[in-house]
């Protein structure tokens, strides 16, 4: 009796507590579901901090349509099941839009639910599949892999003129997705994959992988790893004297990797989708403010979070009301320029699938700094 009664009240208390984050007067409820612990903690934390900056700025300036933004951030533990639970929790409180998650697997599970609830979801995931499901409520904040990989492929084909390429990738959904899209693009361009090397999350010793690379003797090496692993790989590649150019996508050329790798990142080249080192003043100012407030260098996820919030602000002001359905309709095909909304940092356009289009860059690491050598125009402006 006693035991059961106690349990019941505990259960009720637990679930009751979980549902208290109700929207109050003059606020708009836009919760975020992010990877704050587990494998995705770095990405999720960056995304969150970027969002926080934007929210504070907007709230200080009076909010959106006079409503203060209320954004509780819920941890998914980088796990799909927990993501689903947390999304359900915020859906129960009728959000206007939902931010996150970043992990593609978690996006795939949550986007089914936001579609059903007709709530726009501003995601950080980059897997191609996310926007290929005819879902009118999902919006990206960065390139999907189906857009970034052709850019890399063009670069390898046109600039490096490689006939064969080796690919080193991290064996999780992020790395696998990148590798699959990349391989497809290489085949389309008639470039031979000389070595296909899978590595583990948290891998420490890359000597075997670099030995294999040397054996493959490819004209170029495409590296698609997370930050620390990128740095460890670069150190090992330098040590064993890899001669072929090392090509990366965004992460490999990030300042964080450059710092962590010491001198080993010198000469690395590649495509940079979204970077705090972009030759754009607004972006660099943002990066400086971010560094000052959070005491670390922001990665592309920070920019995603920041611009994502401003995206919502701009679209909402265009429709003039908090209407989730109207938001989703309006946001498709919208173009936002920094002139209209400075917080968007760079001109951005969302297409009918929710994919984002922006300028991007080709870069190179010179003297311990990322140097942008070429700006690639938006796809829609070609």
């Amino acid at each position: 009796m006693l035991r059961t009664g106690l349990l019941v009240s505990l259960v009720a208390a637990g679930i009751g507590l979980a549902g208290t984050a109700h929207a109050q007067q003059k606020t708009v409820y836009m919760p975020a579901i992010l990877e704050l612990s587990g494998a995705g903690a770095v990405s999720g934390t960056n995304f969150r901090d970027g969002m926080l900056m934007a929210i504070d700025e907007i709230n200080k300036a009076g909010g959106i349509l006079g409503h203060k933004i209320e954004t509780p951030v819920l941890d998914t533990q980088s796990d799909a099941g927990t993501s689903r639970a947390q999304l359900q929790k915020v859906l129960d409180n009728n959000p206007y839009v939902v931010f996150g998650p970043v992990f593609s697997g978690s996006v795939l599970v949550t986007q089914l639910m936001t579609l059903k609830a007709e709530i726009p979801e501003i995601v950080g995931g980059e897997a191609a599949a996310i926007t290929q499901k005819n879902n009118a409520y999902v919006f990206r904040t960065s390139f999907g892999q189906q857009f970034s990989m052709p850019k890399i492929a063009n670069y390898i084909h046109d600039s490096i003129k490689a006939k064969s390429v080796a690919v080193v990738w991290v064996n999780n959904d992020f790395g696998k997705g990148g590798r699959d899209n990349f391989t497809k693009e290489m085949k389309d361009r008639g470039i031979n994959i000389a070595a296909d090397i899978s590595t583990e999350v948290g891998q420490a010793d890359f000597s075997a992988d670099v030995v294999k690379l040397k054996g493959a003797n490819a004209d170029a090496v495409f590296v698609y790893l997370n930050e620390e692993e990128s740095a460890r790989f670069l150190k090992e590649a330098k040590k064993q004297g890899i001669k072929a150019p090392l090509i990366g996508e965004t992460t490999l050329l990030g300042q964080k990797v450059i710092d962590l790798a010491g001198g080993a990142a010198e000469g690395v080249q590649g495509h940079v989708g979204l970077t705090v080192d972009a030759p754009i003043k607004a972006v660099q100012d943002f990066a400086a403010k971010f560094k000052q407030r959070f005491n670390y260098v922001c990665d592309h996820n920070g920019i995603k979070g920041y611009t994502g919030v401003y995206f919502v602000k701009y679209v909402t002001e265009k429709i003039g009301k908090f209407d989730s359905k109207a938001f989703a309709e309006k946001a498709h095909g919208i173009t936002i320029t920094p002139k209209d909304e400075p917080g968007i940092l760079m001109e951005a356009m969302w297409d009918k699938n929710g994919d984002i289009d922006r300028e991007s860059f080709l870069g190179e690491v010179v003297d311990g700094k990322q140097k942008i050598v070429k700006t690639l125009p938006m796809l829609s402006k070609k």
Partner: protein, 291 residues
């Protein structure tokens, strides 16, 4: 051939680190039946002690000493007094749960109170590469290997050549008999925890320059040390060293010559084979305990 030597040498350097961590793991098991699932986090943490000390202005050598001292106190004394002692008599499983919770606690604490970002960590030696039979080895790896070997030799001497060490071994092998012989068993157990605290701190200093200091570092390290300890012999210090080295080399060789996608599987298959056909480990002795 050059690439084989490269794999071998790199594998040995990585394996030496696994060995350092695995030794502490086996020591704790022997004296207190603690299967420490937080051992990886124990290696992750001291690097942050050092970084914190350097942030308040301590030079590297002083920060390193502070890191080791703190690690001995927190991961040695406190860990034993607060967690292991009250739980020891309740069997192994509750303690296993507790160390799993402890590993989550340490990870999350570092993430929330220090940073979720990977931190560069100062290296004790200059970043130079040495050439050796066609293979390239960083000076750092050589130092790691050397320190690991020295530590192990010192530990071996301590355990086998000193009275204290023999008392500790007696405690590990049969606490009841040791107590009858007048050995202060409690203190001997404490010493093994202190040694583990120091070992993980040394491992942390050695590997953080290569792996970078990050709160998730313990996950892969802890598992590697665990596998190394079992392959080598769960109840022998020498076995842990052999296990560590085998694991480091095996990982490289299997990734290079067999399958990189299944690189993680080979050590596990060997682990299962060792347990089933030589449960005392490659160098371990048969465990004999009165029922």
């Amino acid at each position: 051939m050059a690439s084989f030597i490269q794999l071998l040498v790199s594998g040995l350097a990585t394996g030496a680190i696994y060995a350092l961590i695995a030794i502490g793991f086996t020591l704790l098991w022997q004296t207190s039946q603690t299967i420490n699932f937080a051992q990886g986090e124990f290696v992750m943490l001291p690097a942050f002690f050092v970084l914190a000390a350097m942030n308040v202005g301590a030079p590297y050598w002083l920060a390193a000493l502070i890191g080791i001292a703190l690690s001995v106190v927190v991961l040695g004394v406190l860990f034993k007094a607060v967690i292991v002692d009250p739980m020891m008599r309740h069997g192994v499983l509750p303690l296993v749960i507790t160390t799993i919770a402890l590993s989550l606690f340490l990870k999350e604490s570092v993430k929330d109170f220090y940073s979720s970002q990977a931190q560069p960590f100062p290296a004790p030696v200059a970043p130079r590469d040495l050439h050796f039979l066609g293979a390239v080895v960083s000076l750092q790896s050589v130092v790691v290997l050397a320190v690991a070997v020295l530590t192990v030799v010192a530990l071996h001497l301590l355990l086998n050549k000193t009275r204290l060490g023999r008392c500790m071994q007696a405690t590990a092998q049969n606490p009841t008999v040791a107590r009858i012989l007048g050995i202060p068993v409690g203190r001997m157990v404490l010493y093994t925890f202190l040694i583990n605290g120091a070992l993980v701190a040394i491992a942390s200093l050695l590997i953080s320059p290569i792996y970078l200091a990050k709160f998730t570092n313990g996950e892969a390290l802890g598992m590697a040390a665990f596998i190394a300890a079992i392959i080598g012999g769960f109840n022998q210090v020498r076995g842990a060293i052999l296990g560590g080295l085998i694991l480091g080399v095996l990982d490289n060789l299997s990734a290079a010559y067999l399958s990189s996608q299944y690189r993680g599987a080979f050590p596990l298959v060997i682990l299962i084979a060792v347990i089933l056909f030589r449960p005392q480990g490659l160098l371990g002795r048969v465990e004999e305990r009165a029922v």
